[in-house]
Amino acid sequence: MQKLTLLKGAVTAMFAFTACASTAIASDITVGVSSDVATMEPNGSGSDSNLSVMANIFDGLLQRNSDGKLIPSLATDWERIDALTWRFTLRQGVKFHNGNDFTVDDVLFTFNRLTNPEISNFVNFGAQIASIEPLAGNPWVIDIKTHQPVAFFSQNLPQIFMMDKESTQDRSPGDVGQNPIGTGAYELAEWIKGSHVALAANEDYWGGAPAMDKVTIRPVTEASTALASIMSGSVDILQDVPVSSIKVIERNKKIDVLKTPARRSIFLGLSNAEGQPGSDVRVREAISIAINEEQIIDKVMFGAASLAAQVPDPATIGYNPDIKRPVFNPSKAKALLKEAGYADGFEITLTGPNDRYIQDEQILAAVAADLAKVGIRVNVAAKPKSIVFKELQENKLEFYLLGWFDGSYDYGRSFDKLVTSVDSEKGTGGWNGAAYSNAKLDKMIRDSAKIIDVAKREKALQALNLASQESFALIPLHYQMDVYAITKNAKFDFKPRPDTWLVFKEVTSK
């Protein structure tokens, strides 16, 4: 060992031009992320990896603090006036990076653009808005009316970033998508696509200049390269540490590993069409207790996951603390299958992505192995997400794996996509991959949409969630964990956010 260390020192010293041994200035931070920034069109991508960067350059009317709580941003105050109307008071004296003033015109301009699919990834949100009008005599207060009552309207606003009307309308979409002009705490300094995004502090930020002067965001998509990036000190923080590398990194004395519960849950969906085994609720229960989820978390997820008893995470409105996860019990599962008339089991195809969720393909294999033990012969069809998501939208799968979390923190909205019966006219059941249908649950979700009172609505959604879990509409497996690796000698304090966004104005220097 001693010899090896000596050799190492010698070899390293031989090369006088030794690599970037972090000579970083105190207020300089480099972060490795797992997917590339797609676009600088702030509302052009709803993926969290893109929103994460946009949240530094732009501001929404509202924002979330690092605990996920809704707080003022470009709107200082907001309230729901009636079922259809939301009132916002705009912040005065805010300037865009190009010196233009932020006004009500910019708000109107931003929301109007959302319905154009060529530039917006929030078409559905934009289409909910019926009108936006400034209050008579006060251009700093606006009323936004929606077509239908949307209980979670304000919850979406941290994702909608305000753009400068004057400088945006005259530029081509290609220019707007590469040269962002926002009101945010950082300005874009450089964007080398596929390599890095460099941000520079906006000293005139309305919320005060951020502590970090310079931020570099570097995509590192390959797992082994990501590991090398943090081990070699090329990045100060690595987001989305590959679970298989956690142990290796934990052994390194110069690096801290930080695990926080992620919002995303992983679950299974199963058809209940007539003639399908899943039409018998005993079969659904049997499947849910035949899967040894603790072992999956331990062996497949390397401990970086926690048991899920329901689909929404605790922060979501509709999360019901009373729901208990059924206990793993393969012999009871066998008995249930026998009762349901499947003493010899049955054959079924389990479809899921192999490039979307942490260890997704391995989870599929583990589920198949567990179900084989109770006699269910599972054919695993692991495919790229681009194909699986298309098949899910066609609602013709028998059995599938999906992951989900709701950016609006409202289970009602997710439920409509995941469990409500497929109805393309009403726009429900889009992600209900096996066309599960349950009239009782359909009625409960319809009724809940009419409730305006926040507390009553939450109660209704909790009841809905419980009823759905009692009929095993979806079979939850686990919540993922967000894993970060941070260099120990970092000169800053970084706190991960539940939405996985990297909001650098929250980072303070040590």
Partner: protein, 322 residues
């Protein structure tokens, strides 16, 4: 000669046409970009509206026809994911890929040919035995394994080179961003270029070695020796010159492949080139990027191969093309 050149160009066009068509057909099996474009909460009707606005509801032949007619006018469409012009996105990434391929090529030529000559001349030297065995590894080790091993060794264990990325760049007057002109850029280039060039280095080494072995046994070399010429002029001036013709052919043909096959290397080293762009585009169903990439790279390879054939004809006038 000119008849030959024009014939080659015509053939190239046909190849491009076929390549682009198959490239396009594959999309039918790759999922539906409208789902991602509409956003997670879009309704079925909103997704369908986007499908119609992109023309994805039409038959594949009409889609292909529209694509080709637009492409011939230089319009490759807008990327579905980034919502930026596809051609611009691919062209922005091209310098990185071409510089990586050039660096890999230079490494392969310098070390491959040099070692080939030396090993043929001094077969008993330790270096020779090592090189012959080493070349087997170069040919048989998969690129990703080489890349990962190089990173672990030269960037993590012995931090001599940076593990990934392209380093500091300088923008040349016509917009080409180069990493050749900065120390940092060159340092970033070493590991990925070695990874990409290793296979070709091994091939060139073996090709040069066997050519040299044959040449060194031939009469004119024996004569030169008998006349008292010293060793190195014989090796590099007389023998190598005759060996170089097949070597140059291979180099020309392989350069296109270095550009096209840099995908794995780019992925491992997070190299911001076209290969990396292609991978993320396939991952995200970004068809316009994929088709633009296929057409651009196919064009490049066809042009290179044609040039090689033409140069070959000039270099070796004994060869006739009719």
């Amino acid at each position: 000669m000119w008849r030959y050149v024009s014939k080659r160009i015509m053939q190239g066009m046909v190849v491009l046409f076929i390549v682009s068509f198959f490239g396009f057909i594959i999309f039918q099996f790759l999922g539906d970009p409208a789902i991602a474009m509409a956003g997670q909460y879009a309704t079925q009707a909103e997704i369908e509206a986007i499908r119609v606005s992109l023309g994805l509801d039409r038959s594949i032949y009409i889609q292909y026809f529209n694509f080709i007619t637009n492409a011939l006018q230089g319009n490759f469409g807008i990327s579905y994911v980034t919502r930026l012009p596809a051609l611009e996105l691919v062209l922005q990434r091209l310098p990185a890929t071409i510089e990586l391929a050039i660096a890999a090529q230079v490494i392969a030529i310098v070390f491959g040919v040099l070692l080939g000559v030396l090993v043929a001349a001094f077969p008993r030297a330790l270096l020779s035995k090592f090189s012959v065995v080493g070349s087997l590894f170069g040919i048989s080790l998969p690129t990703f394994a080489v890349g990962i091993l190089l990173i672990l060794f030269f960037a993590v264990e012995f931090p001599i080179f940076p593990p990934f990325g392209r380093g500091e760049l300088i923008t040349l007057p016509w917009g080409w961003e180069t990493g050749f002109l900065t120390w940092d850029g060159l340092k970033h280039l070493v590991l990925p270029a070695l990874t990409l060039g290793l296979l070709q280095l091994a091939l060139l080494f073996r090709l040069t070695r066997s050519g040299m072995q044959e040449a060194l046994r031939s009469n004119y070399i024996r004569t030169a020796r008998a006349k008292g010429l010293s060793r190195f002029p014989i090796l590099f001036k007389h023998a190598l010159r005759n060996v170089m013709i097949p070597v140059i052919t291979i180099i020309g043909l392989q350069f296109g492949q270095l550009v096209g096959f840099s995908i794995v290397t780019e992925k491992i080293f997070q190299w911001p080139g076209t290969g990396n762009l292609l991978l993320s585009a396939i991952f995200d169903n970004d068809f316009p990027i994929v088709s633009t990439y296929i057409i651009l790279i196919a064009t490049l390879i066809v042009i290179l191969n044609t040039l090689v054939d033409i140069t070959y004809a000039f270099l070796n006038p004994r060869i006739r093309y009719d």
